[in-house]
């Protein structure tokens, strides 16, 4: 009896942290979203959001870009994580992949400006073949490339962990039983590392929905996502209610993604 109360007590610090730094801020945002610009209680912000074509279009834009970024990072990360698993100096490679995340996002963005600009590195290289200058900055291409570059470590790590946990015995067994390389991959390896992929997708898709520094610095505001609108409402129009409303929509979208990619309990008690 005593033991179970001690166990429950172990959740107190965690619960406290969660309540103060996760739940309370979210509740404040939800609360704020019910007030219009002059401080009156209203549902109008939500009505504006869902009635105006602008916000809906912006939402669709955000989802499409986030989807592309997630797909690109996944395509690069899965093979990388897989090769990493069989690589010799695993820890070193892993460190090299994590290293860029220690550098501030803004610095990385500015570095890319230097690389992509009219007389930057890429155009200098193309110039040797007489096909420069090409416009790279402020295009969908550069935005997706930079965003993917930034998100890649967050995709590789969970997938890598998933592959590490995979029991080599299953792979050997599948080979022994006559599965071809591709079959082994789709029937054995992929399903068993699916949790890593899901975690990676969550870690990349959700932040990608609201990238706003990059949309301006690299996308030149020719790429607009919900983050742009939130920034504008908090800093320029001072319409915190509307900004919060967009925030709430993003939070709901986040839960939806978690639900769709999360582990579902199957019948028969298997988790």
């Amino acid at each position: 009896m005593k033991k179970s109360t001690t166990n429950a007590a172990f959740y107190v610090p965690y619960g406290l942290w969660l309540a103060l730094f996760v739940v309370a801020p979210v509740l404040l945002i939800i609360y704020q979203s019910f007030f219009d610009i002059s401080g009156h209680f209203t549902l109008g912000n939500y009505a504006t959001y869902f009635q105006s074509g602008t916000y809906i279009l912006m939402t669709i834009n955000s989802v499409v870009y986030a989807f592309i970024i997630t797909a690109v990072t996944l395509l690069i990360s899965y093979p990388t994580a897989y090769l990493l698993h069989y690589a010799k100096h695993k820890q070193l490679w892993l460190l090299l992949i994590i290293l860029p995340t220690w550098i501030n996002l803004l610095l990385k963005a500015y570095a890319f400006i230097g690389i992509f600009s009219q007389d930057g590195g890429v155009n200098g290289f193309l110039g040797m073949f007489g096909i420069a200058p090409k416009q790279f900055l402020f295009t969908d291409f550069s935005f997706i490339l930079v965003a993917s570059y930034i998100e890649i470590p967050f995709m590789i790590l969970p997938i890598f962990n998933g592959i590490e946990e995979l029991d080599q015995g299953y792979v050997n067994a599948s080979r022994d039983l006559g599965a071809k390389g591709w079959q082994t991959f789709t029937r054995v390896i992929l399903p068993l590392t699916m949790n890593g992929v899901k975690a990676g997708v969550q870690a990349v898709f959700i932040p990608s929905l609201s990238l706003f520094m990059l949309t301006r610095l690299i996308g030149g505001n020719r790429v607009i996502t919900l983050g742009t609108a939130i920034e504008e409402h908090f800093l320029v129009t001072m319409n915190w209610g509307m900004g919060s409303t967009i925030g709430v929509v993003l939070i709901i979208a986040m839960f939806l993604i978690m639900f769709l990619t999360g582990e579902r309990k199957r019948k028969g008690g298997r988790a």
């Binding site: 912006m58 742009t228 001072m238």
Partner: protein, 357 residues
Amino acid sequence: MKKLMSMIVAILAVVAGLALWSANLKKTQGATGENTLNFANWGDYIDPALIKKFEKQTGYHVNQETFDSNEAMYTKIQQGGTSYDLTVPSEYMVEKMIKAKMLIPLDKSKLTGLKNFGSLYMNRSFDPGNKYSLPYFWGTLGIIYNDQYVKRSEVEHWEDLWNKKWRGDIMLIDSARDILGFSLVSMGKSMNTTNPTTLQLAKTKLDALSPNVKAVVADEIKMYMAEGEAPLAVDWSGEAADMMWDNSHLHYVVPTEGSNLWFDNFVIPKTAKHLKAVYAFLNFMNDPKNAAQNADYVGYSTPNDAALRRLPKKVQNDKQFYPDQDVIRRSEVYKDLAPKTVGLYNDLFLEFKMFRK
């Protein structure tokens, strides 16, 4: 169990620490000593040598803090916790702060050197009779062009930006009011338009500009233009001065139809506690010699005519930053618009940014 308790204590300590820190932040925003002046200014917007000189001359200590947008400064003062004695909002923000009763009127009997100011820069609509504000620097909105690709005669009017020749060549400053503003001027309308139908038309006209727009960026525009990333940009005169400093191929034009005329102004917020220091500082800055030195450092246009006469002839006759009087007369000062209209400007601007052909 002990470990557990220590963890709980640790979290509570973090919370208490944060609370203390935020309380402390509020307090230290502005020192409280008798001989200080708490000055909230834009970044790099005063010659540091002048501050040293002022401190030496008067014995006051200047405690400078910077802000990067009018709105941020407004919110900070409004929410309390600051003790700024002096700040430098733009004209529409002066109007907004007067309306919100956040400013202390100037005591003209304590001010010297008022006659140094040019009459064009005084008694403007945002503060009739300069009851609350003194102009610090002024400027315009205009077109920056790179003479390697663009001739001056090609960009003398706002309308010229729509020329098919400039496909993907123009950079715009990320500011709803200014961009919709020049679209309005090109249609012969006021930059202070509040009529939603007219604003919608101005936005539709901007959509037609979209193929010519390379990017809509903020402060980075200076770096991009200096590096020759684009041949054309729409930006404020002050920013243009910075770019031209870095790249001699760049020039600035105020289109002849007129433009926006902006002012950054000294005002005393309600939070001020060191009024004596404030007046000493304002009088110090009104002095033509100091104002000239400051204008030379900052590179913006000074409203202090006596100071202007002390600047090199080349600066005085520079039509880019001291345009002809009739251009100034044709230009408009922004009014403080109702929040709803500000919202409309920004929504339309967002729609323009999203517009793709």
